[in-house]
Symmetry: C2
Subunit: 199 residues, 2 copies
Amino acid sequence: MQNRIITISRQFGSGGRTIGKEVADRLGIHCYDSELIEKIASESGLSKEYIKDRVEDAQHKSWLGNALSSGRDLETGLSTQDFIWHAQRKVILELAQKESCVIVGRCADYILRDYENCLKVYIHASMEKRAERIVKVYGEREESPQKRLKDKDKKRKEYYRFFTDTEWGQADNYHIALDSGVLGIETCVDILAGLYKTK
Amino acid sequence: MQNRIITISRQFGSGGRTIGKEVADRLGIHCYDSELIEKIASESGLSKEYIKDRVEDAQHKSWLGNALSSGRDLETGLSTQDFIWHAQRKVILELAQKESCVIVGRCADYILRDYENCLKVYIHASMEKRAERIVKVYGEREESPQKRLKDKDKKRKEYYRFFTDTEWGQADNYHIALDSGVLGIETCVDILAGLYKTK
């Protein structure tokens, strides 16, 4: 039987990562999140920090700006962004072949779009609820939580659109989308674990 | 205690109406769908057919085209579309005051945006699944099911944007969005009835 995968796309501060981990724990499968970066680093030969910085967490430039101005890999001729994307794609496709698991972020929903046994999830919440959460989880910063959220949302949106040519956060792109701020993290976990068990 | 409302926005052919009815049956509350048109007709003094035709089912003109070219009510000075909208808004706000219920369509999610005890649901499915369903439910027509779906999607999108100034089908606008084609109607009903009971 084909492995069963849950992909979780999530707005920054929505608790999507926590939901992914709790669902995986409940189901006795693995949740790939920061480990994905390690795997992509190992696949590409680039450092974890470099990948992290180049993908979602670039602080001073938009992701698209980075993509356009970044260097090229001498061997493949690919831009660094494309080179990372190919490594990421390979890692995610191999994971799906290897085991049932939860994968958080990294456009896994798009990369696994032709993989039948995949539940595509999107987790979001209001700006207010997310601001509250990021201050609680990551602490205060010089920038307001609202500004941090807006920057992250913009980068994730650009990144997703650049590689997938579809809109991040459009309900049609997911099998289920949940407002974790209104429904609560525990209810989201219940629904997703329940779906995995019954489908 | 405040009444509890479930609003269901749905893509044409996604089974959203059926899901609304089954959820309501399961919970022992009423589902307002075509009855809403009757109530709006009674509130506005316009005929059911006229309202239906003017809102989503105008066949030869886009909804926006109708809105721009339609007549005005002599007493209020409102365009017919605005006049219907105000009647619709009044009917939906009164329903929420009167009883716990499910409301399908009619931008009820937007109209009840400040109403706390409201679960906002969006039901969608792939073009393929919806085409299959509308042929099964409504029969063959001269136009292909794909063409019928595209026309309806476009009209509902325009209608929603015109009155709410937000995007129809954007996951952030709903508490839960479900792909009924992949999850199945019964599973969608289970999840929604479960949420109503536990929240």
